[in-house]
Amino acid sequence: MIWEIVLFVSILYLLNIVLLTIIVFKGPTIGDQVLAIDGITYGSIVLLILFSIYFKEPILTVVAIPLALWVYALDIYVSKYLERGDLGA
């Protein structure tokens, strides 16, 4: 039963990713797009770890930590550009 639940929840997360991607495509401002990319990333972290359980390959879990870190980097690049206009200052 565990494997069925894991597969079902992974489909829910796929739905989340698709819906948020449409927000990225139509969101009027840059802020909406970056927020939706954050949501996509947090969804795909859980999606990838669920598939790592389903495949019974625990070492595939390593990829989740960088995914959580780098979207933060994208956030602050855009934020600094919008706030200051110069990334070095």
Binding site: W3, E4, L7, S10, I11, L14, I17, V18, T21, V24, F25, I30, Q33, V34, I37, I40, T41, S44, L47, L48, F51, Y54, I59, L60, V62, V63, P66, L67, L69, W70, V71, A73, L74, Y77, V78, Y81, G85, D86, L87, G88
Partner: protein, 88 residues
């Protein structure tokens, strides 16, 4: 259930690559270059999921910092030092 599992994995691969086509198209036609960089970062995220499902964790580990962490930053530096809008 295993039969469905194979189809579901391939379905996620197909959906993710179709969404990446849309992201690439919008990145190419968009006039605001900051938005183009954001679309290209989105495409990189989709490719990372695709690499994961193609069983290449090494490539995911090197591709995520490079394509989501460093290249958007470097391109935004270039845009902030030059110009933001692509003229008609």
């Amino acid at each position: 259930m295993n039969v469905y599992a194979e189809t579901i994995v391939y379905l996620i691969m197909a959906v993710v690559s179709l969404l990446s086509v849309v992201a690439v198209y919008l990145a190419i036609v968009e006039r605001d270059l900051i938005k183009a960089v954001i679309y290209s970062a989105l495409q990189s995220g989709f490719y990372a999921v695709l690499y994961y499902l193609l069983m290449a964790p090494d490539i995911v580990l090197v591709y995520l910092p490079v394509a989501v962490g460093l290249i958007p930053g470097v391109l935004i530096v270039l845009i902030s030092k030059t110009e933001r809008w692509e003229k008609e």
